[in-house]
């Protein structure tokens, strides 16, 4: 049904794509861009791109990975353009770090750590740990090697540990081992 709609460029397939994959696409974009309205724009562009190029996809089981791959690259492209071409000076819309309950603290630490990562590392972390891509799938999605992805993931985890220390939090409290080199 979805594949048929994509092949025929039928606009009604957008409803189904949005319902099935909208939240995941938006979250991957947000984790890379750290800006909710930019993430919404990536979600829209991803689904419109999918409708435009959907005839190229043959296997429905690959649909989710294909969409998330488009989203990650759209987000990286948007970020590159906004920084290198026309930095409009918008700030990421982050939650306040003053929250003190457990879940909010997790979130604040995570946000600080993610904001500190280079965008390509954020993309690797989002696809690997949020979208459950394998390392090889992340490498393919981002057009790089598995070793580069491993390096990026390691950098991501290291920075997260650094942030826990900066916040005077015990890494073990977050289930993290203090094996930073």
């Amino acid at each position: 049904m979805t594949m048929e709609g994509l092949r025929e460029h039928r606009p009604d397939v957008l409803d189904e794509l949005l319902a099935r994959f909208g939240r995941e696409i938006q979250t991957v974009a947000y984790l890379i861009l750290r800006d909710a309205s930019d993430a919404e724009e990536v979600l829209s562009e991803t689904l419109l791109t999918a409708l435009e190029r959907g005839h190229q996809l043959r296997d429905e089981t690959a649909l989710r990975a294909w969409l998330l791959r488009i989203a990650a690259n759209q987000a990286l492209g948007m970020r590159r353009r906004s920084v290198r071409l026309v930095g409009l000076g918008s700030l990421p819309d982050r939650a306040s770090s003053e929250a003190t309950d457990g879940a909010s603290l997790d979130r604040a630490v995570l946000q600080d750590a993610m904001a500190d990562l280079p965008p390509r590392v954020r993309a690797a972390v989002a696809l690997r740990y949020y979208a459950d891509f394998s390392v090889d799938e992340v490498a393919e999605a981002l057009g790089t090697t598995r070793n580069t992805v491993k390096t990026q993931l390691r950098i991501g985890l290291d920075r997260l540990r650094d942030h826990l220390r900066d916040e005077d939090l015990e890494p073990a409290a977050f289930g993290m081992e203090a094996n930073h080199v």
Binding site: D15, R23, Y30, G77, G87, L88, K150, I155, L160
Partner: protein, 370 residues
Amino acid sequence: MSDPILTREERWLRGALRAEGETLPLRVEAGDLRRRWGERRRGRVVRRLELVAAVAAVLVVGLAWRPWQADRLLTVISGPINVQWQPPTGPGLSAGRASLSLSEPQSAPASFVIGCGWSVRGHVVGLTIGKQDVGSDYFFVRWKLALGPQYQIELVNPDDQTSFIGLAGNYTSQAAADGSSGSIVFTNLTLNSGDPSTASRRSGTFTWTCEQPATLGRPAPSLPSPTVDEQGVPALWILQNGTPVRRALTGCPLSVTTPERALAASCATTNWWEPLQSLDSALEVAPADGLAFALDGWTVTSAEVVASHSSSTPGSFENPLMGLKPILGNGEVAFSPPGPGIWYVHFTVEAARDDGSTLQADYAYPIMVP
């Protein structure tokens, strides 16, 4: 989903990322997407015609350019736009600008394609609204009427596009910190509100400025020959206390683009540290030594430096890479020495030159700390 391969910390991270995603409201609506899809299909034919016209105009100007016109600004427009320009002043890519004021559009929908180009050091360089590229990567600015109290300004190239919405104000956009970008300035942008089919199309004037990037910054010091390797890839020299001591091995992927040539290579399946294992020596450094790297004639715009201890499988999760905290100094990039032992050090470098050349390449070299 439970993944037994993930460590405890990775599972925590996954849970935290998913919780983060749950906090975001899903505000995009399918109806809006269908409307945008319809607009996109209708606009496609118009856009293609405009781009064909603009590319043709660029070609006309490019073909008309002659060496004696070096350092003169080339401007390409279509649509009812008045042009004033001033040439670049000073050496290299010093600032030049084109101010283009838009006359009153006569009817909706109206759109205009504008391109700017500079001739620099004997090469025609297409300026991409703050980012210059040689060749086909040429951006255009399109101004068009849109529904609602907005006008829409788009930066467009044939394969990609992004949009900015102007809301009754001026835009001032600053160059990126890495110096590789110029700036775009929208001034006196006065926009009407209301239905564009009945409201006056605009008031005041609309002027935008294409500005060339300033020089990138301090170039690298003069380094020993060879400054390029056998393939023509710029050599990365490791400096110890200010003295160039070793040339790092070139890795992959790499991409070098200069006005004269373009070189790109993707990676084979081998691991980056394997060529280092076969070297019979490592650069010996003391913990207090000052370490840096440089590429002759290039300005480094970003760098990641990581080290992997040689005692076990490099790069594996069991033997994690250590970030060496590069300090960008443009010409010379300092990085912190690793701890005791033999380390495989990996450099991921992006660099540029004032003539518009760009480089993205990986390098590696072993370092020993007693």
